[in-house]
Symmetry: C2
Subunit: 317 residues, 2 copies
């Protein structure tokens, strides 16, 4: 198995009963400000507030009954964990979620809301993977990796299939990149559905492992990704992601922290949408001038809206 | 001329090139919390961030060429002003907007963005109306009243026509009430398109002139409407609104200030939408228990999303 357009189309059919067909918004003021036609795919309005509902639903519902019965397990800084909990709840199987003990309260409540069985661990990848492996061994639960999983990537790619149906042909699709699951799904869907469509990943400069890996054409990891875009701190550690990115993605650009906050605020003010910092990085690349889009039709995946409303970055003392 | 379903249907055709067909969102968590099926009509995602774009577009484009040429004038605490400025700009005529000098910066910028010619006045109705009359006399501009105008009401009613198309049959439609333009349009559209559909207006308890007028069956005005829902401070002073409300609206209920803030926050957190306090009062009636909706299919007009993001009510010291 690998990842191709057929797999993404099959995922779209499989998850249709379990996810929202989210709207695509346009905005005159933002279009005028950047001289382009921007099409925002509102995955912050997706079930549980993030595109992650798509990949998790596809992975959980693609399992055979015997494989699914003991449940599923994952590790996630938040949105993917909630998405796996939700998909497991909808399938009626246990959903175990390994989370760092410093995860934001909003994201913890999101997992609990869907009956997820939370197992806290130290906030590092080794601890997460060890906890996951232990639970899988003890319970027989199937691992639903946040990004290094073709079924998850296929689910994430369904957002781009919808975007192209809703917006019509585009010149460019932008999405944030953390572990690379969304970027892989986006790129394969985009290139498959509209050959020649340019796909660019956007990353916080403070967590630029994918940009570095893209240039080096081999995995480059960074130790401390200190970015407000907490969903994008992950390194592209999967076996499957970087090869797909190198094959299908045209470029990976980076944005500084202040551009992310400014973009987040501009999206709230103009689109009237609550988007999380991770969801703002793609528009940040446009607003900051890191990426030229003048005269182009640009699709932007707004990935999620799970924000702690008591701590907004532009109101920090 | 009066207000009827035919006028609202004609308005829908007239304004279609100038406004968005906004999405209707549903949310499992909010449905579960109140035991009902809630359909949120997202007029915060409307052009210029509020349903007011509809009524203003209808009134401005319904004018004959000769009447339109000198321009239009209105007074408004904000959203209607921006909506008239925008409609005038799209028609290529001057748009004069009388605003109180203490209007929020966000709303002033919204008027300026559309080329509105702002005339500041004292923050009271007498001063506003005097400034409006003076400008009309001096320039020949046509008055587009914020609510006491059948064309404006017909435009506002188009949101409910769309809501019923998008959500299917409902048991109840809720909307906030300030001057009464939206409530009149909503009620006539709802009763016309689905006879028997219950329509309830919701008002801040601190600005309950319509609730009082509804009970007394005659206009009751209050002097100082001190509510966070700044779009609803207006008294129902029009000649046309109260008679239509008494004829078509089933009830008017009120909600306290803390319920408005709690509802606003719940909408941001669950729907991932930026809604202004005025837009949250209808859901506040449900969340606070002021209105029982268990087992019902309920349409809710989320009226606007123009908020000062530096001053969120739940973050006040």
């Amino acid at each position: 198995m690998s990842l191709d357009l057929a797999a993404i189309r099959a995922a779209a059919v499989r998850i249709a009963p379990h996810v929202q067909r989210t709207p695509v918004l346009t905005n005159d003021a933002l279009d005028a400000a950047c001289g382009a036609a921007l099409f925002f795919k509102c995955e912050n309005l997706q079930a549980m507030g993030a595109f992650k509902a798509r990949g998790a639903a596809n992975a959980v519902f693609a399992l055979g009954d015997d494989a699914a019965a003991p449940g599923v397990v994952t590790h996630s800084s938040g949105n993917h964990g909630a998405a796996v909990a939700r998909a497991a709840q909808r399938r009626g199987i246990p959903g175990f979620v390994v989370m760092p003990h410093n995860a934001p309260q909003t994201k913890i409540r999101n997992v609990e809301r869907y009956g997820g069985r939370i197992v806290f661990c130290e906030p590092n990848l080794t601890a997460r993977e060890a906890a996951c492996a232990r639970i899988a061994a003890e319970t027989g639960a199937a691992l639903v990796h946040p990004f290094d999983d073709y079924a998850v990537m296929a689910g994430q790619g369904t957002a781009t299939l919808e975007l192209l149906e809703q917006a019509g042909p585009l010149d460019l699709v932008l999405c944030p990149v953390g572990g690379g699951g969304l970027l892989c799904g986006t790129a394969v869907a985009a290139k498959g559905a509209q050959p020649g469509l340019r796909v660019v990943g956007v990353e916080p400069a403070a967590a630029d492992d994918v940009a570095q890996s893209f240039r080096a054409k081999k995995p480059v990891h960074i130790a401390h990704a200190d970015t407000i875009a907490d969903g994008l701190r992950t390194n592209v550690t999967g076996q499957r992601n970087l090869p797909l990115i190198l094959q299908h993605v045209d470029d990976v650009v980076t944005v500084p922290e202040d551009a992310i906050v400014a973009a987040m605020r501009a999206l709230w003010e103009n689109l009237k949408l609550v988007v999380e910092p991770s969801a703002a990085v793609a528009f940040a690349a446009i607003q900051s001038g890191a990426l030229g889009v003048r005269g182009r039709r640009v699709g932007i995946i707004l990935t999620g809206g799970n924000v702690d409303l008591d701590h907004l970055p532009w109101l920090k003392p």
